[in-house]
């Protein structure tokens, strides 16, 4: 996967979801979006690379909530 593109997409999702004071809730919403719409391979790639390319703080918090996929590749 092109991880830079995935990071850009995750940051975009985060920027468009980041409204309000409850950051925990926002991170959960972003994580839910990634789970519902990204393939397991894409989710695995973003979990594995999260320290390499810059995720925004709220996107990183959402990625921390993702469960590493074990099937569906």
């Amino acid at each position: 996967m092109d991880v830079e593109k995935l990071v850009k997409m995750a940051n975009q999702i985060a920027a468009n979801s980041d409204y309000g004071a409850d950051k925990e809730k926002i991170a959960a919403t972003i994580a839910d979006h990634l789970t519902r719409f990204w393939t397991p391979e894409m989710r695995k790639a973003i979990i594995e690379q999260k320290k390499v390319v810059a995720l925004t703080p709220i996107a990183a918090r959402a990625v921390d909530k993702l469960v590493m996929p074990t099937s569906g590749f």
Partner: protein, 532 residues
């Protein structure tokens, strides 16, 4: 719509161009909000801001029909001065008084309908704009009766039908997510297969994976991705990376040039089925002649499934509709017999609505209470720079249909035989460009050359073209930027530079050579075999 306008309905147009609807015989828009491409969310928020700040909202509708907590949060958001027309003026370019006038007009009418096209969806905040539009309709009480509502005008005649049937990588028919075990079991039992609980890839993900070598085969039916999708260099690189690509179409289109296998398609006159339009109206399409290629499209797909080892055995499209009715609650009452009897049916059509549902959301929304969503304006990454100081926005013309695969092979080319670049006189003069000159158009994705048409339909700083002819290479210039939620490409916003040139772009020269080679292959294949 034009009839109602001629009868005196008010008209508000939001478009970066002065489109025909702004001023045409017997029709004159009350307000034209000529916004800068990419600022839809800011403008729609500003309209709602004015309505709420001036107390013009439909208080009774909101109280009775909408979720109070959602409304409270949204109200606090929308009343923030950051969303005022004056505050967003610098970004949107729309005179605040015009925004205020439009908001007052929309809120003052007993019925207000909102129609939108791809100028809403083909943006990095396309989804957010749709939500902002829904907020605007709810806060003015314009949902759930005839003559109001939010009406998306689709890019093709059966976009709605494709969506209804689960043409998303994360849904099964009836907008049901694949993560729902009960839904998977329902379809799995019918089809005798196990359905994965994970979303699949969207088209841009497929192209990325093809280039990475992890995505090997593609079946493209009735779509010309090599011309229609953004960032042509990336798309053709992806198509060339596949091990197997099957193209099924009624023409040897641009994508077919990359195919390993070509299967002839059937036109709408050669097959039976249904189209569903934006008002959820399922209309029958009846075969009037046998397919020239021998098989209707669904029969080709069925043969392919059988060849791959899956026993797909429908004997008529009506059996496919019966299966849809068995599996999809909103289609339970739909059958070919009923379609023949009624002429067309608007879903939901089931025991609760035997003849279908002309108007949705009467009295109650599908989810219960209407949910206002906060819609912050997030500027696109595709911004102008010193290197790329203009914004390109792309669109369509009436006489050509989409990539023109069907219409530019007809006499319609008499109306539109090439895509041109509309440029404002001010931008043209700065660049020494005159009407009819060749203009090189460069973006971070690529470069193409188009003929200039100097026009005041667009504002300074904005240029416009169509994408009906493959040689124009409009999508060589558009980028991989896309909507945050759906990945719908941002065709409407590309930062570019334009300059006068004397020859075609490298891409166009390569494209001409590649096309010539492909036609030679075709001609050779068509020659009768020589007998020694």
């Amino acid at each position: 719509m034009k009839r109602r306008l001629r009868e005196g309905a008010g008209l508000i147009v939001l478009d970066p161009r002065e489109i025909d609807l702004v001023r045409s015989p017997h029709v004159q828009a009350d307000f034209h909000l000529q916004l800068r491409p990419s600022t839809n969310v800011a403008v729609v928020n500003a309209l709602s801001h004015v309505i709420m700040a001036e107390g013009l909202e439909a208080k009774k509708f909101i109280e009775e029909r909408c979720d109070p907590e959602g409304f409270k949060t949204w109200k606090a958001f929308i009343l923030d001065p950051v969303n005022s027309p004056e505050n967003v003026f610098e970004e949107t370019g729309v005179d605040p008084e015009i925004v205020r006038g439009a908001a007052r007009l929309f809120a003052s009418k007993p019925n207000g309908a909102i129609y939108y096209g791809l100028g809403v969806t083909e943006h990095s905040q396309g989804s957010t704009t749709v939500m902002a539009i829904a907020n605007l309709a709810m806060c003015t009480g314009n949902i759930g009766r005839e003559g109001v509502g939010v009406n998306p005008l689709r890019g093709q005649n059966n976009v709605q039908g494709s969506c209804d049937m689960g043409s998303f990588p994360h849904e099964l028919p009836g907008y049901r997510h694949v993560s729902d075990p009960a839904v998977r079991a329902l379809f799995g039992n019918e089809w005798g297969v196990e359905i994965q609980p994970h979303p699949g890839m969207r088209i841009p993900n497929m192209f990325d994976a093809a280039v990475a070598g992890t995505f090997k085969a593609l079946y493209v039916q009735g779509e010309d991705v090599a011309q229609s999708d953004p960032d042509t260099h990336h798309v053709t690189n992806a198509l060339s990376s596949l091990e197997c690509m099957i193209v099924q179409d009624i023409f040897l289109n641009e994508t077919a040039k990359f195919a390993t296998v070509f299967l002839p398609g059937s036109s709408f006159l050669e097959k039976s089925g249904t189209f569903t339009n934006a008002e959820r109206r399922i209309s029958p399409v009846r075969k009037v002649m046998e397919p020239l290629a021998g098989l209707a499209d669904w029969e080709v797909t069925q043969r392919l499934a059988q060849a791959l080892g899956y026993p797909m055995n429908y004997s008529h499209p009506s059996e496919i509709m019966d299966e849809i009715a068995r599996l999809t609650p909103t289609f339970t009452g739909v059958s070919y017999e009923k379609l023949d009897k009624l002429g067309s049916i608007q879903w939901p059509c089931n025991d609760a609505a035997v003849d279908g549902t002309p108007t949705m959301h009467i009295g109650e929304f599908v989810r219960g209470k209407g949910m206002f969503k906060v819609t912050p304006y997030v500027p696109t990454d595709e911004v102008t720079t010193r290197k790329y100081p203009l914004l390109l926005t792309t669109g369509r013309i009436l006489s050509q249909y989409n990539v023109g695969a069907q219409t530019r092979r007809t006499e319609n080319v008499q109306w539109h035989d090439e895509d041109v670049l509309e440029i404002h006189p001010h931008d043209a003069e700065n660049r020494g460009i005159e009407n009819g000159d060749w203009v090189g158009l460069q973006s971070r994705a690529g470069e193409t050359v188009l003929r200039a048409v100097i026009s005041e339909r667009i504002q300074p700083g904005v240029v416009y073209t169509t994408f009906h002819h493959p040689f124009s290479g409009a999508n060589v210039v558009t980028t991989d930027n896309s909507d945050w939620a759906t990945n719908c490409p941002e065709y409407k916003v590309t930062a570019v530079q334009a300059s006068k040139v004397s020859k075609l772009s490298d891409w166009q020269q390569k494209f001409a050579k590649f096309t010539e080679e492909q036609l030679e292959h075709l001609n050779r294949a068509r020659q009768p075999e020589k007998v020694n």
